[in-house]
């Protein structure tokens, strides 16, 4: 039964007007929702009006807001009457524009503006918070998954993607030695990310290679394709044949940890690597497609809140063009040499065996391999592919929703 409880339905909770705040701050209009045994919640009235769930304002089949209100949004809309139905756990609002809305408490609680709730939503559901690791800690954070289990079990799939999101690396084992393994794995998540090198690509030594990775020489630590604004998010490398020579060893470093070290111990060099744009390039062709890819961005990329969003590093794919003022060149080289030294010091190494699929965050980790020697009977052969984080996180959220 609907009941307007005067104690629960305090009409408006205004913030105390503070001197010197601008007009709009003075007019902060909040709706207070109290429910017994639960913390109070506060919601801005305009946000509630914007997110009305009725058939005129919201289309359930698309799970999206209907746009008509916004053809002429009245931001001065006010709550005229507010009440709650404790039994039904519903908030009712009568608006100054004549509209009426109702909101389930559970829906409101999921959208609570309290800091603790927002923090949990962002670091649990939106994108799991990464945990950085040093080379010594690799043994503790490394996790293995079985290929067949990933294909068959949603729970295993979720754990794999979560491991990738938090630590940036995971090893998949016991995959068949077939060319379609990466496609099946990617389709299990969503779909492959295509690049100028196609969908899947073969990594093996080729004479006259058009890409530096297609040589048997040592491949120093790097991220793949820094020359794209839309750099592939996750690299998958399936070992079909490993080198019998002592080389071909995988090297991996968490470059976010390297950035942490620089931030703490070498702040000046850290700033230089965050602020100096570098020209990354790849010039060549693959099949019929001739390309000249360039992207200008620093080595360490931060978001507005100072968190790492991307690391760019590749000695072969760094352009000889360097479009910065002359006086920034030497300080950048000194900072970069320090980054390379620290990344080498922090590298962990291991050698994959046939059937392994190494998966890692290409925006965060730098990877490489030691040089090797092919013979007539032993030709190291890896197949690679990429996934994008948009697709990985989406899948992770769907899996989490299903198990919640």
């Amino acid at each position: 039964m609907f009941q307007a409880d005067p104690q629960l339905s305090r009409a408006l909770a205004r913030l105390q007007p503070k001197a010197k705040l601008d007009l709009q701050q003075d007019q902060l209009r909040l709706v207070l929702v109290e429910s017994p045994g639960q913390p109070d919640m506060q919601f801005p009235d305009i946000w509630l009006r914007d997110n009305c769930r009725c058939g005129e304002c919201y289309l359930p089949q698309t799970l999206s807001r209907l746009p008509q209100l916004w053809n002429n949004l009245d931001t001065s809309v006010r709550v005229q009457q507010q009440s709650v139905d404790v039994e039904q756990q519903l908030l009712y609002i009568q608006w100054s524009d004549g509209h009426a809305s109702q909101y389930p408490f559970a829906w409101l609680r999921e959208r609570d503006f309290a800091l603790a709730h927002r923090t949990r939503y962002l670091s649990d559901f939106y994108r799991p918070a990464p945990q950085h690791w040093s080379g010594l800690e690799f043994g503790h954070i490394r996790r293995e998954f079985q290929y067949q289990e990933l294909l068959a079990s949603d729970e295993q799939l979720q754990q794999w993607l979560h491991q990738l999101a938090v630590y940036g690396v995971a090893l998949v084992r016991q995959a068949p030695l077939e060319f379609d393994v990466l496609r099946r794995l990617c389709n299990r998540v969503g779909f492959m990310r295509r690049t100028t090198y196609g969908d899947e690509f073969s990594v093996r030594a080729q004479p006259g290679a058009s890409n530096y990775a297609y040589l048997a020489a040592p491949l120093p630590l790097h991220t793949d394709m820094p020359y794209f604004e839309y750099k592939p998010g996750v690299t998958l490398l399936h070992t079909l044949e490993q080198s019998d020579s002592p080389g071909g060893v995988n090297l991996l470093t968490d470059a976010y940890h390297v950035a942490d070290l620089m931030r703490e111990r070498h702040p000046a060099q850290f700033r230089v690597l965050c602020q100096t744009p570098v020209d990354w390039a790849d010039i060549g062709r693959d099949g019929d497609l001739e390309f000249h890819n360039i992207w200008r961005a620093p080595v360490i990329n931060l978001d507005a809140e100072g968190r790492y969003v991307r690391i760019n590093h590749s000695i072969p794919q760094r352009d000889s063009h360097f479009s910065v003022p002359l006086e920034q060149v030497r300080p950048w080289y000194e900072a970069m040499a320090l980054f390379v030294r620290l990344a080498n010091e922090q590298a962990c190494s291991f050698k994959t065996t046939p059937g392994d699929v190494l998966t890692f965050n290409n925006l965060r980790l730098v990877h490489g391999r030691t040089g090797y020697d092919d013979t007539d009977h032993n030709v190291r052969h890896l197949v690679g592919a990429f996934l994008d984080w948009d697709i990985v996180y989406s899948r992770l959220r769907v899996l989490r929703n299903a198990t919640r």
Partner: protein, 408 residues
């Protein structure tokens, strides 16, 4: 243009050339050829890093192979010598290495501010020019579909117009469903999304995406809920509605941002700073998705230039992960952005055979509502391209373009 200037200087640089060590670590190159006699200074550490010999540089992959594990940034030039006849500079280094650089190669990489700017604005990514709705007819360029498919010069002009103005119209395309794929493959390849590669925009009752309804579709950008938002929209009109509606609406949101920046700086600041949760929840071909990306409406790069606009009323999440006190002011500012955009929108109606292409990072698009009948139902085929792929193609086309006729 940057490339042609380089080409011209190639022939002229050979007559005179001198080079010397300055400040112990840098090298100054003086091509004494009158017209472009400006001295060029190169940091020694950069020259050493970019040595062109076979040990330091891998020719077939055009990649640096210098061993950075052993690279010492304190490396200094010991002596420098210029070879006028060959147009080369030779350097001996403190690490016992020897390097040679051609004058043409050095010129292309000059640290001179003007030269760098022209490289960045002509070759890297053409500078954008922003436009008001009233200017649409002046800036909108039309191209012939068959010509774009057949001629590189036409392809280059189309991509250049897209880069600079963010919109271009192709006409005379056939009415088959393969047009957007052929066009995308003329540039590179289609960018796939949650909704597949090509997508059909037609009224579908019970549609899971708001665009697949015949209702008016207010101004928006596509897929703001991706960190990697598709860059360029290709919309091929196969059947247009005969009803009054179905008109396209387009706005240059960089122009709207310019106006906010100058006339309403507080609104501009909020729209640049406050992150919004954009989302899309649903399924396509039995595949469930839950896409979310948090970003402001106006995204700036480190230099304060516009990197991206996000706007969509249906795809804005009811989750709004910001402090309570940011909410009301943000709504005021966003409402102003929406009003300014709506008032500036240019409306036009594509015809069958038209392919509308526009920058989805920058422009807002929409359409008026329409009524389908059984004999006449609006049918648009769409696909996306990414800027990485378009700019790459444009650079390749510019490198291969025949130099313009010499005016002198």
């Amino acid at each position: 243009m940057w490339l042609q200037r380089v080409g011209r200087s190639l022939g002229q640089g050979r007559r005179h050339l001198s080079a010397k060590i300055v400040k112990g670590t840098s090298i100054e190159v003086q091509p004494e050829d009158g017209e472009s006699a400006a001295t060029m200074t190169f940091p020694g550490v950069w020259l050493r890093d970019n040595c062109r010999c076979a040990v330091c540089f891998h020719g077939s992959s055009k990649s640096r192979r210098l061993d950075w594990d052993a690279f010492d940034t304190r490396v200094r030039p010991l002596s420098v010598r210029s070879d006028k006849a060959a147009g080369q500079v030779h350097v001996s280094w403190s690490d016992a290495h020897e390097s040679s650089y051609t004058l043409a190669w050095l010129r292309q990489r000059s640290f001179d501010t003007q030269r760098q700017r022209s490289y960045l604005e002509d070759f890297y990514r053409p500078s954008t020019r922003h436009w008001a709705g009233a200017e649409f007819e002046q800036i909108a360029q039309h191209f012939d579909y068959e010509q774009v498919m057949a001629e590189d010069a036409s392809l280059k002009q189309w991509l250049q117009a897209l880069a600079v103005y963010g919109v271009a119209l192709l006409r005379g395309a056939p009415l088959d469903e393969g047009v957007v794929r052929r066009l995308a493959e003329r540039v590179g390849f289609i960018r796939r999304t949650t909704y597949g590669e090509e997508f059909i925009v037609q009224a579908k009752p019970g549609a899971q995406n708001f665009a697949y309804l015949s209702l008016p579709l207010p101004l928006h950008t596509d897929l703001p809920y991706y960190e990697y938002k598709p860059s360029v929209n290709i919309l091929h009109c196969v059947v247009q509605t005969k009803s009054r509606g179905g008109s396209n609406l387009l706005v240059d949101a960089f122009h709207i941002a310019d106006r906010l920046r100058s006339q309403h700086p507080e609104d501009f600041e909020r729209l640049c700073r406050i992150p919004v949760d954009w989302n899309d929840i649903g399924s396509e071909d039995g595949r469930e998705f839950h896409n979310i990306w948090r970003a402001p409406v106006i995204c700036l790069d480190a230099e304060g230039k516009y990197a991206r606009i996000n706007h969509s009323v249906p795809q804005r999440d009811s989750h709004f992960s910001v402090p309570l006190e940011e909410v009301e002011p943000w709504y005021e500012s966003y409402a102003r952005f929406v009003r300014l955009a709506r008032d500036d929108a240019h409306a036009f109606k594509t015809r069958p055979g038209d392919v509308l292409t526009f920058n989805n990072i920058r422009l807002l698009h929409g359409r008026t509502g329409y009524d389908d009948t059984e004999q006449n139902s609006r049918y648009i085929v769409g696909a996306y391209l990414d800027w990485d792929i378009i700019y790459s193609r444009l650079r390749v086309l510019k490198k291969h373009a025949p130099p313009p006729a010499n005016k002198s």
